[in-house]
Each structure stands twice: as structure tokens, then as C-alpha cells.
Amino acid sequence: MFEIFGIPSQALFGQLLLGLINGSFYALLSLGLAVIFGMLNVINFTHGAQYMMGAFAAYLLLQHAGIGYWPALVIAPLLIGATGVVIERLFLRRLRKLDPLYGLMLTFGLALVIEGLFRNVYGSSGLPYQVPESLEGGRNLGFMFLPNYRAWVIVLSLAVCLATWYGIERTRLGSYLRAATENPVLVRAFGINVPRMVTLTYGFGVALAALAGVMAAPIYNVSPQMGSDLIIVVFAVVVIGGMGSIMGAIVTGFALGVVEGLTKVFFPEASNTVIFVIMAIVLLVRPAGLFGRTG
């Protein structure tokens, strides 16, 4: 095995791959944020809590209904997405004509409520969720032992991201979404029920977060605070990528996961901060973010 800057290539490739796994979560979450932001002009601070709710939904489905991982992968996002629909209808819709900062504050408050409730009921030391049997074990890639489940996370997240991209950029329904992002008033005057689309879009973005939560459940413990720390990193990812494009959100998510992984090899002390430092640099060079549109 050769070495790069004194680091065995083994460790390097291993960390790169791990970075990609983390990137999967960043990408799914920032994608959801981008989809929501596009239609609602709201930064969904509840996103972290909804990610957590996804994980809890998987856990509770298993505990109380005996429903395993595979069905949960579909059911949990639908359930949590439905709560998103309710949130949009009850709360966000009433703020549409106000400054988007109110949306941020509202979703922040909701995040506190949700996290508090879950802490209240489930404590905080985390609840276990097993890797599904069919994905147990792993394979030795030579440079590292890659658990099958983690490989699955990369594949699934990539697939969901690309499917979402395709759906938005290449389909009829997606053209409605893009058009409504640009000029909702006119799209509505073309006979399309934009408010319903907004509601469903929010539900969809929330469902993406919940899906990420289900995917995370077997890797991390299911715990009420799992979302709140992650969400701030994802915000930084979003600022770096800019809210310009769906692809931007996906690419930035994966790329920053990898960068973070590399930092863990070369300069572990900075692994928490590297994304924020990149954010500062990107802001200096390209205030609109890497994929953002100015103006």
C-alpha cells in the first residue's frame, strides 16, 4: 500500500467512502430543504425534527405494529409527510404573505416543540434499531470493511436524489413546480391549483427528511436530538450550494460529505468546522453560493 502525505491510502479511501455516506444524508436533507424553499420561500427549520420523526416512525412501527425496515421505508415518509401537510395547512399557509423570516421562526418554534415532546416521552439516551437482516454483514473491499447497510444508504440516497431531480427537471409535473417557483401567481392563473401544490411540495420535502431519518435509524441510534445538530450543518451545505438548483443541492451535499471525510484524515481537529470554514470562503468568493443564482 502506498501513502499520501503520510496517510496510508487504505485509510484515505476508507474515509472517502465514509464521507460519501455522510454526504448521502446531507444531500437528501439539503435536497428537501431546496425543494421546500423553492416553492414556499421558507427555510424549513423543522427539517431536522422531521428527520428525527422519520427515524422514530420506523422505530415505533417496529415496536407497536411489527412493521419492519422495508415497509417502514415507504410508510414512515408517508406518515411524516402527512404531518408536514398538516403543518403547512395549519401554520405556514397563514404566513405566506409575510416576510419569510417569520417562516423561519415558526419552523424553529415547531422544531423545539417536537423535539421537546419526543424527549419527554422517549428520554434521550437513544433507542436501538437493528439493521434489516438482509443487509447485515458487509464486504471487505481490501482497503476497508464496508457494511452492506452503508453501501445501501449510498445507493438508495443517490437513487432518490436522482429520481427527485428527474421528476422536477424532466417531467410535466416538475415543470409545474419549476414554473410555480418562478411565478406562482401566473401559474395559478393558468388553472393550476398552486396552493395545493405548495402543500404537497412541503409534504414531499418533509417526506425526504423522514426517509433520511429511516435510513439513519439503523446507523445511529434513534434519539430526539439526532436532527437538531445535523440541521445546522445542512444549512451550511445549503448556503455553500446556493438555492439555485436541485442538482446543486445534491452535488454539494455529497461533495461536502467527502470533504469532511478527508478532513478527518488530514486534520481531524477541524472536522467539525471544515464545512463552516468552506461556507465562509464561498461567501467571500461567490456570495450566492456555488450553484446559486444572483439577483
Binding site: P8, Q10, A11, G14, Q15, L18, I21, N22, R119, N120, G123, S124, S125, G126, L127, P128, Q130, V131, G137, G138, M144, F145, P147, Y149, R150, I219, Y220, N221, S223, Q225, M226, D229, L230, G261, K264, V265, P268, E269, S271, N272
Partner: protein, 402 residues
Amino acid sequence: MKFAATLAFAVAALFGTATAQAQDNVVKIGVLTDMSSLYADIGGPGSVAAAKLAVEDFNPAAHGMKVEVVSADHQNKPDIGASIARQWFDVDHVDVIVDVPTSSVALAVSEVAREKNKAFLVSGAASSDLTGPKCSPNTIHWTYDTWMLANGTGKAVVKTGGDTWFFLTSDYAFGHALERDTAAVVKANGGKVLGHALHPINTSDFSSFLLQAQASKAKIIGLANAGGDTINAIKQGAEFGITKGGQHFAGLLVFISDVNALGLNTAQGLVLTSTWYWDMTDANRAFTKRWQVSLPGKFPTMVQAGVYSSVIHYLKAVAALKSAEDGRAVVAKMKEIPTDDPLFGKGVVRADGRKIHNAYLFEVKKPEESKYPGDDFKLRATIPADEAFRPLKDGGCPLVGG
């Protein structure tokens, strides 16, 4: 003016009651713990329940005393802990604070207790500094500490063949101390430390640290961390085939609540040191049964048992002095009379404030070995009380002469 009136009303309504309470002869025990966060299952409501059981068993009426238990959540933040402690002592006439998981909070509360001359009985916090350089005539450290954990687990593991170590260390004072102490024990017993990886507190993804541990080929991966971090590290270690690859985890601070969170399937084989286990004696089982009335389905940790034990002993000392006013005097009394309670048996409190009792080395059972809920540990060794804790002279506590 409406605004002024509102403000005045609000102020009066909210705070007016605070100072209204008169001084009386009630002994007030404040359980200051983590009710909502990382260590809520280690201490938390379970500690409050334990304290209440202790009061019940002490039977204050028989001693002509009145005892009240209050509780608050310090959220693992030293600032919140210190300000609650201050307010309890200043305003609410609390005489003693018990539990306080999280070393940083315990150190802060210890300062306040000393300043206000009240008693402080630590059960939840780990730092051996509490009876070392930062010892206080008002503080007793009851259940366990970092030195004891390092000594118990470290020595036992090396002696059973785990002679090469790699540490996953929580990157703050508690983790550093735990690693340092354990590394010293490992080396003293002829083992070798191959390396370490520092991880931030509350890390959700340990995979990259585990990869380093794996690459080190050390037999033992020592977890110098606590709570959720320990849980996550072990869980993800299983996923990366660490245990199947022949490496073993040594959890330096593992509680039964952590084991339950992990599930036996993942936690099996884990070696840990504890000073108390619910299923060891009939007295412990009886206590557990009563305790479970408040927390059904859970099992008390050593911290919660320590709260019980420390409260019993405290009340005995207060009864002997007939006053809880002077915290220093009560603590001195507690050091003077020997301890004896159903959970920890007979013991002593040392001059530096260290409570001395046995420690036990446990191994987590395999799922098939566990016959009923909570049947998690099997005993591997008993560390006698006089070996379990740091010798008095090594602590550097200014209270100890010479």
C-alpha cells in the same frame, strides 16, 4: 399606565412568592440532575425516585424530623446547575444537593455549596478531581469516579489478555482524564497503548474513528466516553465487524441503561466496572421492585442507587446533629460515622470526601443467557473496597493533611 401596571403585576406574580417562605425545621433535599438530556436515564427521574425511597426508609417522623425532596433539571450545563444551586440555597432553603451527573456541573455546584456552606453529595458525576485537587469540606463523592473506572476495567481487561489498547476518547476534560488514568493502569499492568482518536462530544457517526481503531490492530478498543457516545461507538463497531474481527470494546463508563439502549445482541461481551447492580442481592432486588413503581420497565443504575445510599447516610448525620444548617458540620459527621445501608452495605467516607465501597467487574450477557428483563450482567470479579478507589495520599486533596 397599562404597560407599567402589567409589568408590575407580572413581576409581583412571578417572583413575589420566591422570598415569602419562612425558615423552618424542614430538611430539604434537592435532587439536581439531568431530567431531559444525555444522562436523564442514568440519573434523572430515577434519582428523584431513589431519593424519595431513601427518605421513606429513613422514616423522618421517627426521628422527629420533616424531610422534603425537590428536584430540578440542570441540563448538563454548569451555568444552569450553578444558578439553580445558588437559588436553592439562597431562596428555597435547600440543605443538601444530591446526584448531579456531569462533572462540569458537579464542580460548579461544589463551589456554590462551599460558598454557601451547604452539603453536596455527588452520585452522578465521574471526575475524581472532586476528591482530588478540587475537593471540598462540603462535598462527598459517593458512587464512582474516573480513577476507579480506569483501575477496575483497565486492570481486569489487561489481566485477561487484553494487553494492546486503542482509545476512542471524548474530546473534553472528562474523556482525557479517563483515557489518561486508564492508559496508566494499562501500562502499569504490562499492556501497551497503540494510539487514540479524539472525537467530539455527542458524535453521531463514529465510523471514521472506528476505522482508525480497526487499522491499529489493538485487541481492546477503550471507550473513554459516556452515554450516547458510548452507545453509538459500540453499535457502529458491531456494524463494522469490529468484534467479529477479534477486537473487543472496553466501555470505561457503561450503565445498565446504556446496555438496554444497545440491546444485548450488540452489547454482549462488553466488560464494564460498576459499584452496584440491581440483581446482585435480595436487598437490591427489593429496592428495584419499589423503585420500578415510579419507573416501570426500567432498571436502576448505580448512580440512582448511590443517591439512595447517600441520602440515607446524610439523614442519619443530620439526625445525629439535630440540624442541617451547617453543611460543613453535617459532612464532617458523615465522615465520622460509618455508612450502612441496604444497597451498598457497610462502608466509610474518607477525609477527602470519597465514599469507599466495593466495585465489580461485569460482563454483558449474551442474549441467550439473559432469562428475564434486566438480566444483563454476569460478575467477573469483585474489586475490594480498599483497592477500588484512589489511595488517599495520591489525590492531592488539600483537606488531607501532609
